[in-house]
Symmetry: C2
Subunit: 353 residues, 2 copies
């Protein structure tokens, strides 16, 4: 189905047979790797890394040189879109992302425009093309975006938040305004992901980091609805290959049935959901990705192997599983523990396929 | 079934008929009330309030003077038990609870003892007796404790944490040690809640604030198992009345079936779970408490009424619903909005009973 030397990820996402369970890790390129820290020091700040296609390529490839991963994922940030909308993304040391010009009133919202992926987000497309070329058809490249609601959280709060009071206040007092932001974000994410696909991304993933803070009805109305809108407008085939889609809502374990109904190919599970129960609930509709607790990688090789085995066993035999963590790699993770995990997934899953 | 003038809470928790849906709020006595701030200023720090039965009584009664609530809840902290174990609870300004002597090694854990509720926790029992007397059989009094796992989180981390790395590292590397802490905590919580019941608490609630951070299997093994142990050793009848029990796991929406199977009388739902779906899943076994998003109380009277109506409608007609928030009252909540909510619950639920 593709010229890829290792197409296990694509096949597993489409619930086709694979010789073993493919594996990649959220944040597989990042601060737990000494070579990442070295590259970052050269670049200066985090966004300088993302904006430089050479450096983004270098970083994307770093974990692939160390571990037998089955996919590369574009090195970038989920907040490139609001940055391209003019909100001024920056990273204060150890404080996570912030915006210099968050959405403060109705006028700000009315002035929001969908950024052209070919101009303000050109650096992302250049990185995708360059990484794709560097991968030389060895492994598939995953592109991604934040979900419309997750982007809106940062755009309205101006930063991550413990309780998202400003977003929720808008949601209850002025749902029309929040919907306006979300509709713009959804069009922006659609254009952004389609441009990534045109540039060479072979899988796309939507990170809904904050949808899980909402009450169930609001999750469906303000987060999942817009994800569904994106999915129905995405290029689903490119250069003769189907482009699988993955939706990950952190804290979305109660919503698997609704997420599966959006038309995505796979659901990313966070570390809390039992993958065996998830498979019983929706595994006839979608593939499942996940979901080792990232904290397991802080323990020891024998414990890591045991916990990997538990997840493989819980999923059971058959197709449709992509192994991953249930959240991003933690900064204090010893890189050699990642190697143990990756090898354990491959070794222990071979006899299940 | 009791001499209580208003026994709607007890009846609803036991899924018996009531003329309307009873309502109380998690953290109904607290920082959003000017009279609380005034009392607290007099007392000095937070623990001084908890340790003084006169002040604890005064604060417990404050929201009852303002709102037509159907229950009082003991004013205290979930961390009184580890404090009585000698870990040195204190509250740094705006930073939440901390311990001066968190559990740092195996020796600390081996030295942990179940505190005698009659000595080190005497001040809590004195507060319960005094509040009970002050209530004069108008309303029921709810006693409470943190869950064994939630207590362990603070005892091991020494404070609240974003990722609970130390707890999780112990869980994976030394599950035996964590089980030792949890077994001690479970015996301590059992003795503590039974003493509260003996002192006059007519309902007891277990707050499992952090069980929801665990993977599903670990939640069952390290949190719910010990809650079940407590429930099976609690005094379930006192002074001729049944003592209903409520279990609240924040982020526990995926586990309702298992929580219902512990033998509790009611499950507290956080603001995320759809109460109508929860009722379909477990409403034949237990009552449900919740679950308005606390952020709704920051909006406006008409929106509050609308959101209250949505929850009542989602639960549907019939018995077994106690209205509450899905988390504690937020500090910036206007007290008059709480009045709107309480009155709306009573008014709108009358025609459903």
């Amino acid at each position: 189905m593709s010229k890829l030397k290792n197409d296990t990820l694509l096949r597993a996402l489409l619930r086709q047979p694979t010789p073993y369970t493919p594996v990649w890790l959220m944040r597989q390129a990042g601060r737990y790797l000494p070579e990442y820290k070295e590259t970052r020091e050269r670049a200066g700040d985090f966004m300088a890394l993302c904006r430089n296609p050479d450096l983004a390529t270098e970083i994307t490839l770093q974990p692939l040189a160390r571990f037998k991963l089955d996919a590369a994922i574009l090195f970038s940030d989920i907040l490139t879109i609001p940055d391209a909308m003019g909100l001024g993304l920056y990273f204060a040391e150890n404080q996570g992302p912030k915006f210099t010009k968050p959405l403060r009133d109705e006028r700000d919202i009315e002035q929001l425009r969908v950024p052209d992926p070919g101009s303000h987000l050109r650096y992302v497309m250049d990185a995708v093309s360059q990484i794709k070329k560097a991968l030389d058809n060895e492994l598939p490249l995953i592109g991604f975006s934040g979900s419309p609601f997750t982007l809106a959280c940062y755009m309205i709060e101006g930063a991550a938040s413990a309780d998202f009071i400003q977003v929720k206040t808008m949601l209850y007092r002025r749902p029309d305004l929040l919907h306006q932001v979300l509709a713009t974000n959804a069009r922006a994410v659609t254009a952004y992901l389609n441009a990534q696909i045109e540039s060479g991304a072979q899988v796309v993933m939507i990170f809904d980091t904050w949808g899980g803070i909402l009450p169930s009805a609001a999750y469906h109305e303000f987060s999942l609805h817009y994800i569904e809108q994106i999915l129905s407008n995405l290029v689903r085939e490119h250069a003769g290959s189907r482009i699988p889609t993955i939706v990950f809502t952190k804290g979305g374990g109660e919503y698997l049935e609704s997420i599966a109904a959006t038309g995505c190919d796979a659901i990313g599970l966070d570390w809390r959901t039992d993958i065996g129960l998830a498979r019983k609930r929706v595994g006839h509709q979608v593939a499942l990705q996940g979901n080792l607790d990232p904290a397991v990688l802080l323990s020891s090789p024998d414990i890591i192997v045991k916990e990997v085995e538990k997840i493989l066993q819980s999923f059971g035999s058959g197709n449709g599983h992509v192994f991953n963590l249930g959240h991003g790699v933690m900064q204090t993770t010893p890189p050699e523990h990642v190697a143990v995990m990756v090898d354990a997934v491959h070794d222990l899953s071979r006899n299940r396929h």
